[in-house]
Amino acid sequence: MSQDIYVLIEHLRGQVAELSYTMLAAGRELAQGAGGNVVAVLLGHNAKELGKDFAADKVLYLDHALLADFTSDAYQKALADLIGKDQPRAVLFGNSSIGADVASVLSMRLDLPLVSSCRSFTQDGKFVSQICGGKIMAEGELPGPTALVTMVPGGYQPDQGRSAAAPSITEAPVPALEALRVALSKYIEPETGDVDISKEPLLIAVGRGIQNKDNIELAENLAQAIGGVVCGSRPVIDQGWLATSRLVGKSGKHVKPKIYFAMGISGAPEHAEAIMQSDTIIAINTDPKAPIFDVAKYGVEGDIFDLVEVLTEKVQQAK
């Protein structure tokens, strides 16, 4: 048993995820209250040097050829062993393609409590989770003895999880990784598409509020008039109304245009996290309580279908 806060570092093909730095910052807040250390847990193969900028008191490094790339089965085995032996106060995972595959399974396997979608901790160590598309927060005591927590971005600055001084790195034993049921075959590179939305200065973004594929034309017309490019939220891409290369969000691209013009997008956390670096966000939504208005600089409570054609015309005239 210790009061240490373990943070599972996520990395893919040599790149540490921003969320891991956010979690190191969160871990610091929690460790200060609990009176323990922040311990970064790094699983990989020949990947020790990834730990050199972690703002952690210590890095525990588990090296194994079968940990070179993430697979749920191998990570679960290695972590079950480590957490079972060390019994830290909490283990932070990303609420992500890596962390979410691991945390729930470990909760059942080790019989430890799990809190998901945590955004921050209070000074007295309570968890604050973000649910219902960002519309509701849930707060409670961090359960014991060892709490497993999955974290979403937004509560801490990733830069606070970086440090110029390299932390001490200790190798930790890896249990036998036998009879694994999940194996990586290969990576498939992202579709490049015709444009790279992460570099475009003017984005006209559409969400589910656009209703159907035919209506995409309204956005295309506005984009053409103003000299921008159309992109969209996940439902729009999943419905096949726009190409995957146009997806903005957690699973798509992060963007930083001069203007992000969002039509019929609610502003769910998975979308919002990827547009925060835009210079100016302008949003149109029929719902005055849509969370997009909390991140937008300008908002219009209104209907896409009343506004867009008029706006397109006026933009054309103004040129």
Binding site: M137, E139, A183, L184, L202, G252, S266, D294, V295, A318
Partner: protein, 253 residues
């Protein structure tokens, strides 16, 4: 190939959400329940697999308002077996659900269990991986494409930025579906009505609901935003004029 899909009902976020007087839970008295959108993708993925490789699709839903609708819609799309799980599911966490589902699913001899990758009201992880561990099956989530051959499932797992990983998983397995290979098919209301006549819903009871492993919520609240947009009001014509002025000010016109 025996495919099982777990579907869940969640409060529609388009409706106003309110906190109950106790202050630690949502007030769901007037909630409009809809299928978790990722489950719609899971059902679609199940039916696609059956169309390609044969087998059966069983859809399992807890007994909440709207459950019959979800089941008959799935039947109209091609699901073979519909099961409604009885029990008091109001406010039940995913640990309890996973344990209850595990007991039912065990009997069904599944080759593949599909769930939505997550739901917007989770506080104790997703049911999929919790269930996988109860059943001692492997789990992979964030999946957007599955095929099956030779007792193995080949799937595509999503990473940020559009990167995909192709992974091989031994079956039986539980997969958390983020998106089906094609958009969930549309079925006409008339076909759903027809399914109501031709298919039947089996009812099973959840053994017990053991929530151990989930957190206790002390307080729920609506977040106070650090900032709010400056709202532009007026008729569409006036709003458009103001937006054009704004575009000029921002130097793009």
């Amino acid at each position: 190939m025996n495919i099982i899909v777990l579907a869940k009902l969640v409060p529609d976020l388009v409706e106003e959400l309110t906190i109950d007087p106790g202050g630690a839970a949502l007030d769901l008295t007037f909630a409009r329940w809809i299928i978790n959108e990722f489950d719609d993708h899971a059902i679609e993925q199940g039916i696609l697999l059956k169309e390609r490789g044969g087998g059966t699709v069983t859809v399992l839903v807890p007994d909440l308002d709207g459950a019959d609708d979800v089941l008959f819609t799935a039947a109209a799309k091609g699901a073979d077996r519909l099961i409604k799980l009885g029990g008091d599911f109001n406010g039940v966490n995913n640990h309890a659900l996973a344990r209850a589902f595990a007991a039912v699913v065990k009997e069904l001899q599944a080759d593949l269990i599909l769930t939505g990758v997550q739901a917007h009201d989770d506080l104790d992880g997703s049911a999929g991986p919790l269930l996988a561990e109860c059943l001692q099956m492997p789990y992979v989530g964030y999946v957007s494409g599955v095929s099956i051959n030779d007792g193995k499932s080949l799937l595509r797992k999503e990473y940020p930025g559009g990167l995909l990983a192709e992974m091989e998983v031994t079956t039986p397995a539980v997969l958390g579906i983020q998106a089906a290979e094609q958009p969930p098919r549309y079925v006409a209301v008339s076909k759903v009505r027809q399914a109501m006549k031709t298919s039947s819903i089996e009812e099973q009871d959840a053994s017990s609901l053991d929530p151990c492993g989930g957190p206790t919520v002390g307080r729920m609240f609506q977040p106070e935003a650090a900032a709010h947009a400056t709202m532009i009001a007026g008729s569409p014509d006036e709003v458009a004029d103001k937006l054009v002025d704004l575009f000029k000010e921002l130097g793009v016109l």
